[in-house]
Amino acid sequence: MGRLKGAVLLTAGLAAMLLLGGCGGEKESLTVINYGMYLEESVIEGFENETGIEIKYEEAPTPEEMYTKYKSGAIEYDLLCTSEYMLQKLMDEGELVKVDFKQMEHYDNISEEFWDFVRSFDPENAYVMPYFWGTVGLLYDSEKTNGPLHSWDVLFDGSYAGDFIMPNSMRDAYMIALKYLGYSLNTTDEKELREAQELLLTQKPDVSAYLVDEARDEVLAGNAAIAAVYSGEAYYAYAEDPRFQYCIPDEGSNLWIDCFAVTKQCRNTENALKFLDYLCREDNARMNYDYVKYASPFKSMIESYGEEEKNSDAINPSPEKINNCEIFAPLPQETTDLMGELWKELKAQ
């Protein structure tokens, strides 16, 4: 029995070694969380080489999962990049800190238009820095559809049963149904949400799959004719082969902007700003754009757009199309809970 103590001591010793081991090495670092395939790797390497600050890079597929990862507190993130409604939620919860973006050397490379855009939820431009923006729409293989698409109804009328992909992201899925029904995508009306639910439940047998990051590749691989995707995914597909077209449906859709923000867990705001500044630099903005293929808020990029990009709804949508779109707002907890319940019911059907 006395020896059990020995075992316990040994255990404690090992545990202490593990804990201490985690504290070694005082190299400066930044922990960044971002969406998948949303930052060119060589940009990270370039930053590390130029500044000597190590980047610990994490990914999450949806805003909700990013929020969970952030909130779980297992890892302390210095910087995060997510969508406007999640940023608002984090701001409201006091998770983000104010920084002076004007300090950045390449501050001017972000078009004034986009600082304006984010002012709708960050009135002093103190919390978030625009990174990429876009819409949600239909990516389709024009050789498989009957002519160009212009409405969400192809997802609901059964004409492409088994041949289209819906987003596996709660708010995006309900956004499509709500917009198709002519409601606001920020509705808190239970009746409207239940109506959207009915629609999605009837639609489910026709859905080929619910996907986020893989949706575009499934269309490219010919496994589905249509997918509801973020605009950049569509431009990437178009760049691979022009037969892959994109449309922002006439009923309207979601206009979104993804931004970087500094969290209250950040250990070194100056380094965080250095990283953001680095992203704004012309060459890095270009490298990221070439990799990600989403619409850029950087002046240097916008000025360099070619004819194809200017004419593309995915990169440069017309003002009429944009006016038809809405931005997500954070929902009250009851609505989030209700939507969560409905989503679970839909997925279990």
Partner: protein, 272 residues
């Protein structure tokens, strides 16, 4: 004896760090609500139709997959038994080889094989058959699970069958028993311990898996594991997620005691 308890140190550390502490948190979350107040709601939530449905579906899938694994394993094991020793170990090696590759990669390979425009359908259409629509379905998930866990079943049964005394089988044959009778009266009853541990090793993980359903189910089919994952990752309701996990754990434990009870008096040839 004294030295042994010191040697058990790492194991105790392991158990405390990765079983006891997590379990404590799981129970704590399961029995509280978002505000940290005691509640049994998360436990009873399993009986809500949405969750019950996922649980029933998971059980169906797990039972079916286990059954398929058994049916596939016996012929394989019996033919292995007939091979010479070197061929036997080579065949077992081939069976285990794919397990060296990360199982997510293997599932992604299945995704490519089964997709609408995938390898299987290319093959079918090129020999003039109609393409199959098994991508993102229950069938696809089950193919993935059976593929993943079949080796465990084969190894467990193989261990038991290899121990059967050849003389007994020969005696049966001498007394006029055919292959069929030998199998059902001798090989099957004598391999029950291995079969049972095989069942546990296939049933439990297939009951609780969610990655397979994520990758091969296209997000359309929800096993109970997927429901729990969504509670943790998307809805961020850790309390409900923990409650469901706890009940699932109890459910799995009950199904395990069911096999353990039969096992206690059997000779040990189980490998878990």
């Amino acid at each position: 004896m004294k030295r042994r308890s010191i040697l058990a140190g790492p194991y105790i550390l392991w158990i405390i760090g990765f079983t006891v502490i997590p379990l404590f948190f799981l129970v704590k979350y399961a029995l509280t609500d978002r505000n940290g107040l005691f509640t049994l709601e998360n436990i009873f939530a399993m009986f809500e139709p949405v969750h019950l449905k996922a649980l029933v579906f998971s059980t169906e899938v797990a039972v079916l997959c286990t059954a398929i694994c058994i049916v596939l394993s016996y012929p394989l094991v019996l033919s292995l038994k007939r091979l010479g020793l070197d061929k036997q170990s080579f065949s077992l090696y081939m069976l285990i080889l794919p397990m060296w590759i990360n199982f997510i990669l293997r599932l992604l390979a299945w995704q490519m094989i089964l997709s609408n425009n995938g390898i299987l359908n290319y093959f079918l259409t090129s020999i003039g058959l109609r393409p199959l629509a098994i991508a993102n379905s229950r069938t696809a998930i089950m193919i993935g699970i059976v593929y993943d866990y079949l080796p465990y079943m084969v190894l467990a049964i193989y261990n038991a069958v290899a121990e059967i005394n050849e003389d007994i089988i020969e005696a049966a044959r001498d007394l006029g028993a055919g292959g069929f009778l030998v199998f059902f009266r001798i090989i099957l009853p004598l391999s029950v311990p291995g079969l049972l541990s095989g069942i546990v090793m296939v049933f439990v993980p297939s009951m609780t898996s969610f990655v397979t359903a994520n990758i091969l189910g296209g997000g359309k089919e929800q096993l109970i594991g997927n429901v729990i994952e969504e509670e943790f990752m998307t809805t961020m309701n850790w309390n409900l997620g923990s409650g469901l996990s706890l009940i699932l754990m109890v459910f799995v434990l009950i199904s395990m005691t069911f096999t353990a009870r039969n096992e206690s008096y059997e000779k040990e040839s189980k490998i878990w």
